[in-house]
Amino acid sequence: MSEITEAPHGDLLVMLRHAPHGSLWLREALDLALVGAAFGQSVSLLLMGDGVWALLRGQGPGPLGQKGSQSTFEMLEMYDIERLYIDVDSLEARGLTRDDLLLPVIEVPTSELSTVLAGHRQIFNF
């Protein structure tokens, strides 16, 4: 069931579609979201595809000591990020539920994905 109770809207939507650790996509996407939040924009995140792994509990630093993304998500929460959307289909396909995740999320069914995209003035898709 959808939890989208009001029309999604905001200045900035950053879509996170890449898995953590394997590449820098997630990290550089979060950096952009963080700058947006620091500049006072209302920022939403949408996790989709392998991007949903980014919020999995229990992640660690990389084996060479690379920082994980957990601290960045926590910073975003501190900056009062407006909405953290997650694509339910992507979550379920990977055998995950919201209980597996680090932060509370707004579950978006496929039928409402386009509404989320249309509701933001700027979209960056990483």
Binding site: L12, E28, D31, L32, V35, F39, R121, Q122, F124
Partner: protein, 130 residues
């Protein structure tokens, strides 16, 4: 309209930079302005001063510089993405104890805030990814 482009792929390795350049010229030919190109992720390699592609291949760094010279397009590079990938202007090079610079002078290092600003000040922002 005022267009901006976001380039996320390095030259040669992927077609992204080629597509972005072609798009820029096509947009200008239709009467638009392409005021800014922003380079992020591996796209920062488009600003490599030392790039020396074979003579029978397009020289993308030069092509970006031509675009700036001819149409006044600003070439902006995310400084954080550039530093970890080895693209430093003279000031950053000095700050990190390196002599010289590896960033082509027509490109300028700037922050991510600039990218968000571009999204607000330009009517269209088109992303070319690897």
């Amino acid at each position: 309209m005022r267009y901006a482009l976001l380039v996320l792929g390095g030259p040669y390795s992927h077609q992204a930079a080629h597509s972005a350049l072609r798009f820029a010229h096509a947009a200008i030919a239709r009467g638009h302005r392409v005021d800014t190109v922003f380079f992020y992720h591996d796209g920062v390699h488009n600003a490599a001063h030392f790039a020396a592609p074979p003579q029978d291949e397009p020289h993308l760094v030069d092509a970006w510089c031509d675009l700036q010279r001819t149409h006044g397009t600003a070439l902006q590079v995310c400084v954080a993405a550039a530093l970890r990938r080895g693209l430093l202007d003279a000031r950053e090079a000095e700050r990190h104890g390196k002599s010289g610079a590896s960033l082509e002078p027509s490109f300028e290092l700037t922050g991510l805030g600039q990218l968000l600003d571009i999204g607000q000040t330009h009517e269209r922002l088109i992303t070319f990814a690897p």
